[in-house]
Amino acid sequence: MRLDVVLRVGSKLILPFMLLFALYVQFHGEYGPGGGFQAGVISAGMMILYALVFGVAKAKLIVPQRLVEFMVPLGVLIYAGTGVLTMLLGQNFLDYGVLDPSPMHGRERGIFWVEVGVHVTVASTMLAIFYAFVERGR
Protein backbone atom coordinates (compact mmCIF):
# COMPACT_ATOMS: atom_id res chain seq x y z
CA MET A 1 0.00 0.00 0.00
CA ARG A 2 2.79 2.39 -0.83
CA LEU A 3 1.37 3.55 -4.13
CA ASP A 4 -1.84 5.04 -2.79
CA VAL A 5 -0.58 8.52 -2.24
CA VAL A 6 -3.23 10.00 -4.49
CA LEU A 7 -5.89 8.25 -2.50
CA ARG A 8 -4.50 9.39 0.81
CA VAL A 9 -4.03 12.98 -0.14
CA GLY A 10 -7.31 13.14 -2.01
CA SER A 11 -9.32 11.74 0.82
CA LYS A 12 -7.55 13.95 3.34
CA LEU A 13 -8.70 16.90 1.28
CA ILE A 14 -12.26 15.66 1.00
CA LEU A 15 -12.88 14.53 4.57
CA PRO A 16 -13.32 17.97 6.25
CA PHE A 17 -15.70 19.06 3.54
CA MET A 18 -17.75 15.92 3.98
CA LEU A 19 -18.17 16.70 7.65
CA LEU A 20 -19.03 20.27 6.82
CA PHE A 21 -21.60 19.13 4.28
CA ALA A 22 -23.09 16.79 6.84
CA LEU A 23 -23.52 19.70 9.23
CA TYR A 24 -25.02 21.81 6.44
CA VAL A 25 -27.57 19.10 5.67
CA GLN A 26 -28.23 18.77 9.36
CA PHE A 27 -28.97 22.42 10.04
CA HIS A 28 -30.72 22.97 6.77
CA GLY A 29 -33.19 20.22 7.54
CA GLU A 30 -36.06 22.45 8.65
CA TYR A 31 -36.11 24.47 5.44
CA GLY A 32 -35.06 22.25 2.57
CA PRO A 33 -34.19 18.66 1.67
CA GLY A 34 -32.12 17.16 4.44
CA GLY A 35 -32.21 16.45 8.10
CA GLY A 36 -30.71 14.26 10.76
CA PHE A 37 -30.95 11.00 8.88
CA GLN A 38 -29.14 12.13 5.76
CA ALA A 39 -26.62 14.07 7.77
CA GLY A 40 -25.95 11.04 9.92
CA VAL A 41 -25.34 8.92 6.86
CA ILE A 42 -22.95 11.46 5.43
CA SER A 43 -20.90 11.82 8.59
CA ALA A 44 -20.78 8.05 8.96
CA GLY A 45 -19.68 7.92 5.33
CA MET A 46 -16.84 10.20 6.19
CA MET A 47 -15.63 7.89 8.94
CA ILE A 48 -16.01 4.87 6.71
CA LEU A 49 -13.95 6.48 3.98
CA TYR A 50 -11.28 7.30 6.55
CA ALA A 51 -11.29 3.72 7.77
CA LEU A 52 -11.06 2.35 4.24
CA VAL A 53 -8.10 4.48 3.37
CA PHE A 54 -6.17 4.60 6.64
CA GLY A 55 -7.26 1.30 8.19
CA VAL A 56 -9.80 0.36 10.80
CA ALA A 57 -7.27 0.49 13.62
CA LYS A 58 -6.69 4.18 13.06
CA ALA A 59 -10.37 4.86 12.63
CA LYS A 60 -10.99 3.17 15.96
CA LEU A 61 -8.56 5.55 17.61
CA ILE A 62 -10.83 8.39 16.56
CA VAL A 63 -14.18 6.69 17.15
CA PRO A 64 -13.64 3.64 19.39
CA GLN A 65 -16.03 0.72 19.37
CA ARG A 66 -17.14 1.64 22.89
CA LEU A 67 -18.06 5.15 21.79
CA VAL A 68 -20.09 3.81 18.89
CA GLU A 69 -21.98 1.51 21.20
CA PHE A 70 -22.56 4.45 23.51
CA MET A 71 -23.76 6.76 20.77
CA VAL A 72 -26.45 4.44 19.43
CA PRO A 73 -28.59 4.71 22.55
CA LEU A 74 -27.43 8.27 23.19
CA GLY A 75 -29.12 9.53 20.03
CA VAL A 76 -32.37 7.84 20.96
CA LEU A 77 -32.03 9.32 24.42
CA ILE A 78 -31.68 12.83 22.97
CA TYR A 79 -34.75 12.29 20.81
CA ALA A 80 -36.86 10.81 23.58
CA GLY A 81 -35.44 13.26 26.10
CA THR A 82 -36.77 16.15 24.02
CA GLY A 83 -40.19 14.54 24.12
CA VAL A 84 -39.97 13.92 27.82
CA LEU A 85 -38.84 17.53 28.35
CA THR A 86 -41.98 18.81 26.65
CA MET A 87 -43.97 16.55 28.94
CA LEU A 88 -42.15 17.90 31.96
CA LEU A 89 -43.07 21.36 30.78
CA GLY A 90 -46.69 20.39 30.92
CA GLN A 91 -47.50 19.60 27.32
CA ASN A 92 -48.03 16.37 25.39
CA PHE A 93 -45.12 14.27 24.28
CA LEU A 94 -43.15 15.98 21.50
CA ASP A 95 -45.31 19.10 21.64
CA TYR A 96 -42.35 21.44 21.08
CA GLY A 97 -44.34 24.64 21.27
CA VAL A 98 -43.45 25.05 24.91
CA LEU A 99 -39.71 25.07 24.43
CA ASP A 100 -39.72 28.78 23.75
CA PRO A 101 -42.06 31.65 24.61
CA SER A 102 -42.89 31.84 20.92
CA PRO A 103 -44.39 28.50 19.85
CA MET A 104 -42.86 28.74 16.41
CA HIS A 105 -39.35 29.11 17.75
CA GLY A 106 -40.15 26.41 20.22
CA ARG A 107 -40.97 24.01 17.42
CA GLU A 108 -37.76 24.93 15.60
CA ARG A 109 -35.77 24.29 18.73
CA GLY A 110 -37.53 20.99 19.41
CA ILE A 111 -37.03 19.72 15.88
CA PHE A 112 -33.38 20.70 16.06
CA TRP A 113 -32.75 18.51 19.07
CA VAL A 114 -34.73 15.67 17.65
CA GLU A 115 -32.64 15.88 14.49
CA VAL A 116 -29.46 15.88 16.52
CA GLY A 117 -30.62 12.68 18.19
CA VAL A 118 -31.40 11.12 14.83
CA HIS A 119 -28.00 12.15 13.50
CA VAL A 120 -26.13 10.60 16.38
CA THR A 121 -27.98 7.33 16.22
CA VAL A 122 -27.91 6.95 12.46
CA ALA A 123 -24.23 7.78 12.19
CA SER A 124 -23.21 5.47 15.00
CA THR A 125 -25.43 2.65 13.79
CA MET A 126 -23.93 2.79 10.31
CA LEU A 127 -20.50 2.80 11.82
CA ALA A 128 -21.39 -0.10 14.06
CA ILE A 129 -22.55 -2.11 11.06
CA PHE A 130 -19.38 -1.23 9.20
CA TYR A 131 -17.17 -2.23 12.13
CA ALA A 132 -19.09 -5.46 12.50
CA PHE A 133 -18.51 -6.40 8.87
CA VAL A 134 -14.89 -5.43 8.94
CA GLU A 135 -14.23 -7.39 12.12
CA ARG A 136 -15.71 -10.56 10.70
CA GLY A 137 -12.53 -11.78 9.06
CA ARG A 138 -10.44 -11.58 12.21
Binding site: F70, P73, V76, L77, A80, M87, N92, F93, L94, D95
Partner: protein, 497 residues
Protein backbone atom coordinates in the same frame (compact mmCIF):
# COMPACT_ATOMS: atom_id res chain seq x y z
CA UNK B 1 -50.39 14.51 39.57
CA UNK B 2 -53.21 15.14 37.14
CA UNK B 3 -50.70 16.44 34.59
CA UNK B 4 -48.85 13.18 34.87
CA UNK B 5 -52.10 11.29 34.71
CA UNK B 6 -52.97 12.82 31.36
CA UNK B 7 -49.57 11.65 30.08
CA UNK B 8 -50.11 8.02 31.04
CA UNK B 9 -50.78 6.73 27.50
CA UNK B 10 -47.47 7.98 26.17
CA UNK B 11 -45.61 6.96 29.30
CA UNK B 12 -46.78 3.42 28.72
CA UNK B 13 -44.69 3.35 25.54
CA UNK B 14 -41.96 5.87 26.17
CA UNK B 15 -40.81 4.50 29.52
CA UNK B 16 -39.74 1.10 28.15
CA UNK B 17 -38.33 2.82 25.07
CA UNK B 18 -36.15 5.15 27.14
CA UNK B 19 -35.54 2.26 29.48
CA UNK B 20 -34.15 0.24 26.60
CA UNK B 21 -31.72 3.07 25.91
CA UNK B 22 -30.68 3.25 29.55
CA UNK B 23 -30.14 -0.49 29.64
CA UNK B 24 -28.01 -0.28 26.53
CA UNK B 25 -25.77 2.17 28.40
CA UNK B 26 -25.16 -0.34 31.19
CA UNK B 27 -21.97 -2.33 31.33
CA UNK B 28 -22.94 -5.65 32.86
CA UNK B 29 -25.79 -8.13 32.82
CA UNK B 30 -26.69 -7.52 36.44
CA UNK B 31 -27.07 -3.77 36.25
CA UNK B 32 -28.91 -4.13 32.95
CA UNK B 33 -31.26 -6.55 34.63
CA UNK B 34 -31.80 -4.20 37.56
CA UNK B 35 -32.72 -1.27 35.30
CA UNK B 36 -34.98 -3.47 33.19
CA UNK B 37 -36.66 -4.72 36.37
CA UNK B 38 -37.46 -1.21 37.53
CA UNK B 39 -38.75 -0.24 34.09
CA UNK B 40 -40.94 -3.30 33.61
CA UNK B 41 -42.39 -3.00 37.08
CA UNK B 42 -43.66 0.48 36.36
CA UNK B 43 -45.51 -0.91 33.33
CA UNK B 44 -48.33 -2.67 35.20
CA UNK B 45 -48.74 0.39 37.42
CA UNK B 46 -49.34 2.57 34.38
CA UNK B 47 -51.56 0.06 32.61
CA UNK B 48 -53.68 -0.56 35.68
CA UNK B 49 -54.06 3.18 36.24
CA UNK B 50 -55.14 3.45 32.61
CA UNK B 51 -57.57 0.60 33.06
CA UNK B 52 -59.12 2.26 36.09
CA UNK B 53 -59.43 5.52 34.24
CA UNK B 54 -61.07 3.80 31.28
CA UNK B 55 -63.51 2.07 33.57
CA UNK B 56 -64.33 5.32 35.30
CA UNK B 57 -64.54 7.74 32.40
CA UNK B 58 -64.55 5.78 29.16
CA UNK B 59 -61.95 5.65 26.37
CA UNK B 60 -58.90 7.89 26.69
CA UNK B 61 -57.51 9.76 23.70
CA UNK B 62 -54.00 11.21 23.64
CA UNK B 63 -52.67 13.43 20.89
CA UNK B 64 -49.01 13.02 20.18
CA UNK B 65 -47.21 16.34 19.85
CA UNK B 66 -50.47 18.13 20.42
CA UNK B 67 -51.62 17.48 16.84
CA UNK B 68 -55.26 16.46 16.72
CA UNK B 69 -56.25 13.37 14.73
CA UNK B 70 -56.67 12.47 11.92
CA UNK B 71 -53.55 14.47 11.04
CA UNK B 72 -51.58 13.80 14.18
CA UNK B 73 -50.93 10.45 15.76
CA UNK B 74 -53.54 9.49 18.30
CA UNK B 75 -53.09 7.07 21.16
CA UNK B 76 -56.38 5.65 22.25
CA UNK B 77 -57.09 3.40 25.19
CA UNK B 78 -60.46 1.71 25.27
CA UNK B 79 -61.45 -1.23 27.42
CA UNK B 80 -60.04 -3.86 25.09
CA UNK B 81 -56.78 -1.99 24.68
CA UNK B 82 -56.50 -1.51 28.43
CA UNK B 83 -57.18 -5.20 28.93
CA UNK B 84 -54.36 -6.17 26.57
CA UNK B 85 -52.05 -3.53 28.04
CA UNK B 86 -52.54 -4.95 31.51
CA UNK B 87 -52.00 -8.44 30.18
CA UNK B 88 -48.75 -7.62 28.37
CA UNK B 89 -47.34 -5.43 31.12
CA UNK B 90 -48.18 -7.87 33.90
CA UNK B 91 -46.67 -10.82 32.07
CA UNK B 92 -43.64 -8.72 31.20
CA UNK B 93 -43.19 -7.65 34.80
CA UNK B 94 -43.88 -11.04 36.34
CA UNK B 95 -41.17 -12.58 34.20
CA UNK B 96 -38.40 -10.25 35.32
CA UNK B 97 -37.40 -11.89 38.62
CA UNK B 98 -37.25 -15.16 36.71
CA UNK B 99 -35.04 -13.57 34.08
CA UNK B 100 -31.82 -12.95 35.98
CA UNK B 101 -30.68 -16.52 36.56
CA UNK B 102 -32.32 -17.94 33.48
CA UNK B 103 -30.76 -15.37 31.16
CA UNK B 104 -27.41 -15.55 32.94
CA UNK B 105 -27.32 -19.30 32.39
CA UNK B 106 -28.34 -19.24 28.76
CA UNK B 107 -26.77 -16.13 27.30
CA UNK B 108 -23.12 -15.15 27.13
CA UNK B 109 -22.17 -12.40 29.54
CA UNK B 110 -21.46 -9.59 27.08
CA UNK B 111 -24.69 -10.18 25.22
CA UNK B 112 -26.95 -9.95 28.23
CA UNK B 113 -27.09 -6.17 28.07
CA UNK B 114 -28.33 -6.34 24.49
CA UNK B 115 -30.77 -9.04 25.44
CA UNK B 116 -32.42 -6.83 28.04
CA UNK B 117 -32.34 -3.87 25.67
CA UNK B 118 -34.13 -5.90 23.05
CA UNK B 119 -36.55 -7.19 25.64
CA UNK B 120 -37.56 -3.66 26.61
CA UNK B 121 -37.76 -2.61 22.96
CA UNK B 122 -39.99 -5.56 22.24
CA UNK B 123 -42.16 -4.69 25.23
CA UNK B 124 -42.37 -1.07 24.07
CA UNK B 125 -43.33 -2.26 20.61
CA UNK B 126 -46.05 -4.56 21.85
CA UNK B 127 -47.49 -1.91 24.14
CA UNK B 128 -47.29 0.61 21.33
CA UNK B 129 -49.19 -1.66 18.94
CA UNK B 130 -51.90 -1.98 21.51
CA UNK B 131 -52.21 1.66 22.38
CA UNK B 132 -51.85 3.47 19.08
CA UNK B 133 -54.82 4.43 16.98
CA UNK B 134 -52.74 5.23 13.92
CA UNK B 135 -52.52 2.43 11.40
CA UNK B 136 -49.07 3.39 10.18
CA UNK B 137 -47.72 4.03 13.66
CA UNK B 138 -48.98 0.55 14.44
CA UNK B 139 -46.81 -0.76 11.62
CA UNK B 140 -43.80 1.03 13.08
CA UNK B 141 -44.36 -0.55 16.47
CA UNK B 142 -44.99 -3.90 14.80
CA UNK B 143 -41.56 -3.64 13.23
CA UNK B 144 -39.94 -2.47 16.47
CA UNK B 145 -41.30 -5.44 18.35
CA UNK B 146 -40.59 -7.86 15.52
CA UNK B 147 -36.99 -6.77 15.01
CA UNK B 148 -36.39 -6.96 18.72
CA UNK B 149 -37.99 -10.41 18.75
CA UNK B 150 -35.68 -11.71 16.04
CA UNK B 151 -32.72 -10.65 18.12
CA UNK B 152 -34.19 -12.13 21.29
CA UNK B 153 -34.57 -15.48 19.55
CA UNK B 154 -31.17 -15.44 17.89
CA UNK B 155 -29.20 -14.42 20.99
CA UNK B 156 -29.29 -17.89 22.54
CA UNK B 157 -26.41 -20.32 22.39
CA UNK B 158 -28.48 -22.80 20.40
CA UNK B 159 -27.16 -22.63 16.84
CA UNK B 160 -30.52 -23.68 15.43
CA UNK B 161 -31.93 -20.47 16.88
CA UNK B 162 -30.23 -18.57 14.06
CA UNK B 163 -32.12 -20.47 11.38
CA UNK B 164 -35.35 -20.16 13.31
CA UNK B 165 -34.86 -16.42 13.77
CA UNK B 166 -34.02 -16.06 10.11
CA UNK B 167 -37.16 -17.89 9.06
CA UNK B 168 -39.19 -15.82 11.44
CA UNK B 169 -37.58 -12.69 10.04
CA UNK B 170 -38.59 -13.59 6.48
CA UNK B 171 -42.11 -14.55 7.45
CA UNK B 172 -42.50 -11.63 9.82
CA UNK B 173 -41.39 -9.24 7.15
CA UNK B 174 -43.83 -10.72 4.66
CA UNK B 175 -46.55 -10.35 7.26
CA UNK B 176 -45.65 -6.76 8.04
CA UNK B 177 -45.43 -5.96 4.35
CA UNK B 178 -48.86 -7.39 3.72
CA UNK B 179 -50.14 -5.33 6.59
CA UNK B 180 -48.63 -2.14 5.29
CA UNK B 181 -49.98 -2.84 1.79
CA UNK B 182 -53.40 -3.20 3.33
CA UNK B 183 -53.01 0.05 5.21
CA UNK B 184 -51.84 1.70 2.00
CA UNK B 185 -54.97 0.55 0.19
CA UNK B 186 -57.09 1.88 3.01
CA UNK B 187 -55.33 5.22 2.82
CA UNK B 188 -55.98 5.23 -0.91
CA UNK B 189 -59.69 4.78 -0.36
CA UNK B 190 -60.29 6.83 2.75
CA UNK B 191 -57.41 9.29 2.84
CA UNK B 192 -56.83 8.68 6.50
CA UNK B 193 -54.52 6.66 8.71
CA UNK B 194 -56.32 7.05 12.00
CA UNK B 195 -58.19 3.81 12.49
CA UNK B 196 -61.27 5.40 14.03
CA UNK B 197 -61.34 7.96 11.25
CA UNK B 198 -60.99 5.16 8.68
CA UNK B 199 -63.81 3.31 10.39
CA UNK B 200 -66.17 6.25 10.24
CA UNK B 201 -65.32 6.90 6.59
CA UNK B 202 -65.82 3.26 5.70
CA UNK B 203 -69.17 3.31 7.44
CA UNK B 204 -70.26 6.18 5.22
CA UNK B 205 -72.95 4.87 2.88
CA UNK B 206 -71.42 6.99 0.13
CA UNK B 207 -68.53 4.53 0.03
CA UNK B 208 -69.39 3.10 -3.32
CA UNK B 209 -66.40 1.06 -4.28
CA UNK B 210 -65.59 -1.61 -1.71
CA UNK B 211 -63.15 -3.55 -3.88
CA UNK B 212 -59.94 -1.92 -2.63
CA UNK B 213 -61.42 -2.14 0.84
CA UNK B 214 -61.89 -5.86 0.46
CA UNK B 215 -58.37 -6.23 -0.85
CA UNK B 216 -57.11 -4.18 2.07
CA UNK B 217 -58.97 -6.42 4.48
CA UNK B 218 -57.56 -9.53 2.83
CA UNK B 219 -54.00 -8.19 2.98
CA UNK B 220 -54.33 -7.11 6.59
CA UNK B 221 -55.96 -10.34 7.73
CA UNK B 222 -53.34 -12.49 6.02
CA UNK B 223 -50.50 -10.31 7.28
CA UNK B 224 -51.74 -10.40 10.82
CA UNK B 225 -52.56 -14.12 10.55
CA UNK B 226 -48.90 -14.66 9.87
CA UNK B 227 -47.98 -12.71 12.96
CA UNK B 228 -50.43 -14.55 15.17
CA UNK B 229 -49.41 -17.88 13.63
CA UNK B 230 -52.80 -18.97 12.44
CA UNK B 231 -52.76 -22.31 10.70
CA UNK B 232 -51.39 -22.80 7.99
CA UNK B 233 -49.19 -19.73 8.39
CA UNK B 234 -47.77 -20.97 11.67
CA UNK B 235 -44.70 -22.88 10.67
CA UNK B 236 -42.18 -20.29 11.77
CA UNK B 237 -43.43 -20.37 15.35
CA UNK B 238 -42.47 -23.78 16.80
CA UNK B 239 -38.86 -23.45 15.75
CA UNK B 240 -38.64 -19.90 17.01
CA UNK B 241 -40.11 -20.74 20.40
CA UNK B 242 -38.23 -23.98 20.77
CA UNK B 243 -34.76 -22.64 20.13
CA UNK B 244 -35.10 -19.23 21.73
CA UNK B 245 -33.71 -18.71 25.23
CA UNK B 246 -36.21 -19.92 27.85
CA UNK B 247 -37.01 -16.43 29.00
CA UNK B 248 -37.71 -15.25 25.46
CA UNK B 249 -39.96 -18.25 24.81
CA UNK B 250 -41.95 -17.55 27.94
CA UNK B 251 -42.33 -13.86 27.14
CA UNK B 252 -43.19 -14.32 23.47
CA UNK B 253 -45.63 -17.15 24.13
CA UNK B 254 -47.46 -14.99 26.61
CA UNK B 255 -47.56 -11.73 24.71
CA UNK B 256 -46.48 -11.59 21.06
CA UNK B 257 -49.21 -13.68 19.47
CA UNK B 258 -51.75 -12.16 21.86
CA UNK B 259 -51.02 -8.65 20.66
CA UNK B 260 -51.27 -9.81 17.05
CA UNK B 261 -54.68 -11.26 17.84
CA UNK B 262 -55.62 -7.95 19.40
CA UNK B 263 -54.76 -6.25 16.11
CA UNK B 264 -56.93 -8.74 14.24
CA UNK B 265 -59.85 -8.07 16.58
CA UNK B 266 -59.26 -4.34 16.27
CA UNK B 267 -59.32 -4.36 12.48
CA UNK B 268 -62.09 -6.91 12.08
CA UNK B 269 -64.47 -5.23 14.50
CA UNK B 270 -63.42 -1.61 15.05
CA UNK B 271 -62.13 -0.69 11.62
CA UNK B 272 -63.95 -2.75 9.02
CA UNK B 273 -66.89 -3.56 11.21
CA UNK B 274 -68.95 -6.70 11.41
CA UNK B 275 -70.77 -5.97 8.16
CA UNK B 276 -67.67 -5.93 5.98
CA UNK B 277 -65.57 -8.44 7.89
CA UNK B 278 -68.15 -11.10 8.38
CA UNK B 279 -70.76 -10.55 5.71
CA UNK B 280 -69.04 -9.27 2.59
CA UNK B 281 -65.94 -11.33 3.30
CA UNK B 282 -66.99 -14.58 4.98
CA UNK B 283 -64.39 -14.28 7.69
CA UNK B 284 -66.48 -16.45 9.98
CA UNK B 285 -66.38 -19.48 7.72
CA UNK B 286 -62.71 -19.11 6.87
CA UNK B 287 -61.65 -18.57 10.46
CA UNK B 288 -63.78 -21.43 11.76
CA UNK B 289 -62.18 -23.86 9.35
CA UNK B 290 -58.66 -22.62 10.05
CA UNK B 291 -59.26 -22.52 13.80
CA UNK B 292 -60.53 -26.07 13.83
CA UNK B 293 -57.57 -27.15 11.75
CA UNK B 294 -55.24 -25.47 14.24
CA UNK B 295 -57.05 -26.92 17.25
CA UNK B 296 -56.72 -30.45 15.96
CA UNK B 297 -53.64 -30.61 13.77
CA UNK B 298 -51.39 -28.59 16.07
CA UNK B 299 -52.64 -30.41 19.16
CA UNK B 300 -51.99 -33.79 17.59
CA UNK B 301 -48.50 -32.69 16.59
CA UNK B 302 -47.99 -31.75 20.23
CA UNK B 303 -48.84 -35.32 21.17
CA UNK B 304 -45.96 -36.66 19.14
CA UNK B 305 -43.42 -33.95 19.94
CA UNK B 306 -40.58 -35.03 22.19
CA UNK B 307 -39.01 -31.63 22.69
CA UNK B 308 -41.21 -30.10 25.37
CA UNK B 309 -40.67 -26.54 24.26
CA UNK B 310 -41.79 -27.50 20.77
CA UNK B 311 -44.70 -29.36 22.30
CA UNK B 312 -45.82 -26.26 24.16
CA UNK B 313 -45.32 -24.19 21.02
CA UNK B 314 -47.65 -26.48 19.08
CA UNK B 315 -50.07 -26.42 21.94
CA UNK B 316 -49.99 -22.61 21.68
CA UNK B 317 -50.97 -22.90 18.03
CA UNK B 318 -53.92 -25.02 19.06
CA UNK B 319 -54.88 -22.52 21.73
CA UNK B 320 -54.63 -19.67 19.24
CA UNK B 321 -57.22 -21.69 17.33
CA UNK B 322 -59.61 -21.35 20.26
CA UNK B 323 -59.16 -17.60 20.31
CA UNK B 324 -59.67 -17.17 16.59
CA UNK B 325 -62.67 -19.45 16.86
CA UNK B 326 -64.13 -17.01 19.36
CA UNK B 327 -63.46 -14.15 16.94
CA UNK B 328 -65.01 -16.12 14.10
CA UNK B 329 -68.22 -16.69 16.03
CA UNK B 330 -68.65 -12.91 16.11
CA UNK B 331 -71.27 -13.01 18.82
CA UNK B 332 -70.97 -11.68 22.35
CA UNK B 333 -70.35 -14.95 24.14
CA UNK B 334 -67.93 -16.29 21.57
CA UNK B 335 -65.93 -13.09 21.36
CA UNK B 336 -65.86 -12.92 25.15
CA UNK B 337 -64.45 -16.43 25.17
CA UNK B 338 -61.80 -15.42 22.66
CA UNK B 339 -60.80 -12.29 24.54
CA UNK B 340 -60.72 -13.92 27.94
CA UNK B 341 -58.69 -16.76 26.51
CA UNK B 342 -56.13 -14.16 25.43
CA UNK B 343 -55.53 -13.47 29.09
CA UNK B 344 -55.94 -17.00 30.38
CA UNK B 345 -53.73 -18.56 27.79
CA UNK B 346 -51.07 -15.91 28.32
CA UNK B 347 -50.99 -16.68 32.03
CA UNK B 348 -50.91 -20.44 31.74
CA UNK B 349 -48.51 -20.63 28.81
CA UNK B 350 -46.06 -18.21 30.38
CA UNK B 351 -46.10 -20.28 33.56
CA UNK B 352 -45.59 -23.47 31.58
CA UNK B 353 -42.68 -22.05 29.62
CA UNK B 354 -41.16 -20.77 32.85
CA UNK B 355 -41.43 -24.25 34.32
CA UNK B 356 -39.56 -25.57 31.29
CA UNK B 357 -37.07 -22.76 31.71
CA UNK B 358 -36.49 -23.87 35.28
CA UNK B 359 -35.95 -27.42 34.11
CA UNK B 360 -33.53 -26.22 31.46
CA UNK B 361 -31.77 -24.19 34.17
CA UNK B 362 -31.30 -27.23 36.39
CA UNK B 363 -31.09 -30.06 33.91
CA UNK B 364 -29.95 -28.41 30.70
CA UNK B 365 -32.48 -30.29 28.60
CA UNK B 366 -36.19 -30.18 27.93
CA UNK B 367 -36.44 -33.45 26.05
CA UNK B 368 -39.21 -35.74 27.17
CA UNK B 369 -36.87 -38.68 27.74
CA UNK B 370 -34.49 -36.60 29.78
CA UNK B 371 -36.98 -35.45 32.38
CA UNK B 372 -38.01 -38.91 33.57
CA UNK B 373 -38.78 -38.81 37.27
CA UNK B 374 -38.15 -35.10 37.58
CA UNK B 375 -41.49 -34.63 39.35
CA UNK B 376 -39.99 -36.11 42.47
CA UNK B 377 -36.90 -33.93 42.37
CA UNK B 378 -38.50 -30.64 41.30
CA UNK B 379 -41.98 -31.02 42.79
CA UNK B 380 -42.92 -27.34 42.76
CA UNK B 381 -41.83 -26.81 39.20
CA UNK B 382 -43.70 -29.85 38.02
CA UNK B 383 -46.70 -28.86 40.09
CA UNK B 384 -46.75 -25.63 38.12
CA UNK B 385 -46.50 -27.66 34.95
CA UNK B 386 -49.33 -29.95 35.94
CA UNK B 387 -51.62 -27.11 36.97
CA UNK B 388 -50.77 -25.19 33.82
CA UNK B 389 -51.43 -28.33 31.83
CA UNK B 390 -54.77 -28.75 33.52
CA UNK B 391 -55.62 -25.20 32.58
CA UNK B 392 -54.68 -25.99 28.98
CA UNK B 393 -57.01 -28.94 29.06
CA UNK B 394 -59.72 -26.71 30.47
CA UNK B 395 -60.25 -28.55 33.71
CA UNK B 396 -62.97 -26.83 35.73
CA UNK B 397 -61.59 -24.60 38.43
CA UNK B 398 -58.85 -23.34 36.15
CA UNK B 399 -58.98 -20.34 33.86
CA UNK B 400 -58.97 -22.55 30.78
CA UNK B 401 -62.39 -23.81 31.65
CA UNK B 402 -63.87 -20.34 31.76
CA UNK B 403 -62.69 -19.53 28.24
CA UNK B 404 -63.95 -22.78 26.83
CA UNK B 405 -67.24 -22.35 28.58
CA UNK B 406 -67.84 -19.03 26.87
CA UNK B 407 -66.69 -20.40 23.54
CA UNK B 408 -69.05 -23.32 23.87
CA UNK B 409 -71.94 -21.02 24.77
CA UNK B 410 -71.06 -18.84 21.81
CA UNK B 411 -71.13 -21.85 19.51
CA UNK B 412 -74.45 -22.95 20.99
CA UNK B 413 -75.89 -19.48 20.42
CA UNK B 414 -75.03 -19.82 16.76
CA UNK B 415 -76.63 -23.23 16.80
CA UNK B 416 -73.37 -24.88 15.78
CA UNK B 417 -73.44 -28.00 17.89
CA UNK B 418 -70.59 -29.82 16.19
CA UNK B 419 -68.32 -26.97 17.29
CA UNK B 420 -69.10 -27.70 20.93
CA UNK B 421 -67.96 -31.24 20.46
CA UNK B 422 -64.92 -30.13 18.52
CA UNK B 423 -63.93 -27.90 21.44
CA UNK B 424 -64.41 -30.72 23.89
CA UNK B 425 -62.63 -33.34 21.82
CA UNK B 426 -59.64 -31.15 21.14
CA UNK B 427 -59.45 -30.59 24.89
CA UNK B 428 -59.11 -34.33 25.23
CA UNK B 429 -56.11 -34.25 22.91
CA UNK B 430 -54.59 -31.80 25.36
CA UNK B 431 -55.20 -34.37 28.09
CA UNK B 432 -53.06 -36.76 26.10
CA UNK B 433 -50.07 -34.51 25.59
CA UNK B 434 -50.13 -33.12 29.10
CA UNK B 435 -50.68 -36.61 30.49
CA UNK B 436 -47.65 -37.86 28.64
CA UNK B 437 -45.42 -35.38 30.39
CA UNK B 438 -47.04 -36.04 33.76
CA UNK B 439 -46.48 -39.74 33.31
CA UNK B 440 -42.81 -39.39 32.43
CA UNK B 441 -42.13 -36.78 35.09
CA UNK B 442 -43.84 -38.48 38.00
CA UNK B 443 -43.94 -42.18 37.31
CA UNK B 444 -40.56 -43.00 35.89
CA UNK B 445 -37.40 -43.65 37.82
CA UNK B 446 -35.13 -40.58 37.83
CA UNK B 447 -31.92 -40.80 35.85
CA UNK B 448 -28.62 -39.86 37.55
CA UNK B 449 -28.75 -36.41 35.93
CA UNK B 450 -32.27 -35.84 37.20
CA UNK B 451 -31.36 -37.11 40.68
CA UNK B 452 -29.16 -34.04 41.15
CA UNK B 453 -31.88 -31.56 40.24
CA UNK B 454 -33.75 -29.54 42.80
CA UNK B 455 -36.40 -26.89 42.55
CA UNK B 456 -35.00 -23.63 41.20
CA UNK B 457 -34.25 -20.65 43.49
CA UNK B 458 -37.21 -18.69 44.77
CA UNK B 459 -36.58 -15.85 42.34
CA UNK B 460 -37.47 -18.23 39.54
CA UNK B 461 -40.10 -20.19 41.41
CA UNK B 462 -42.22 -17.37 42.71
CA UNK B 463 -43.08 -15.82 39.32
CA UNK B 464 -44.27 -19.23 38.14
CA UNK B 465 -46.32 -19.77 41.24
CA UNK B 466 -47.84 -16.31 40.98
CA UNK B 467 -48.95 -16.84 37.40
CA UNK B 468 -50.24 -20.31 38.23
CA UNK B 469 -52.16 -18.92 41.17
CA UNK B 470 -53.61 -16.32 38.82
CA UNK B 471 -54.65 -19.12 36.46
CA UNK B 472 -56.53 -20.78 39.27
CA UNK B 473 -57.87 -17.47 40.57
CA UNK B 474 -59.33 -16.51 37.21
CA UNK B 475 -60.81 -19.97 37.02
CA UNK B 476 -62.85 -19.27 40.12
CA UNK B 477 -63.43 -15.54 40.21
CA UNK B 478 -64.31 -14.65 36.65
CA UNK B 479 -65.43 -11.07 37.28
CA UNK B 480 -62.10 -9.41 36.60
CA UNK B 481 -61.30 -11.46 33.51
CA UNK B 482 -64.47 -12.65 31.84
CA UNK B 483 -66.52 -9.73 33.13
CA UNK B 484 -64.12 -7.29 31.55
CA UNK B 485 -63.91 -9.32 28.35
CA UNK B 486 -67.69 -9.40 28.17
CA UNK B 487 -67.87 -5.62 28.37
CA UNK B 488 -65.16 -5.26 25.74
CA UNK B 489 -66.93 -7.72 23.45
CA UNK B 490 -70.21 -5.88 23.85
CA UNK B 491 -68.54 -2.61 22.91
CA UNK B 492 -66.85 -4.15 19.88
CA UNK B 493 -70.05 -5.71 18.61
CA UNK B 494 -72.37 -2.89 19.54
CA UNK B 495 -70.31 0.04 18.36
CA UNK B 496 -70.00 -0.32 14.63
CA UNK B 497 -72.51 -2.75 13.42
Amino acid sequence: MSALESQLPILQVIVPLVGAVLVALMRGGRSAWAVALVITWTMPVISILLMRKVLATGPISYHLGGWAPPIGIEYRVDLLAAFVLVLVSVVGAALMPFARRSVASEIDGDKQVWFYTMYLLCLAGLLGITITADAFNLFVFLEISSLATYVLIALGRDRRALLAAYQYLIMGTIGATFYVIGVGLLYLVTGSLNIYDIASRLADPAMQNPRPVMAALAFIVVGISLKLALFPLHVWLPGAYAHAPSFASAFLAGTATKVAIYVLIRFAFSVFGVAISFETLPLTEVLVVLSLAAMFIASIIAVFETNLKRMLAYSSLGQVGYITLGIALANTQGLTGGIVHLLNHALMKTALFMALGAIAYRLGSVKLDAIAGIGRRMPWTMAVFVLGGMALVGVPGTAGFVSKWYLAIGAVEKGWWPLVFAILISSLIAVVYVGRVVEVAWFREPSPAVEKCTDPPLSMLIPMLVLTAATIYFGIDTEASAGMALKAAETLLGGLK
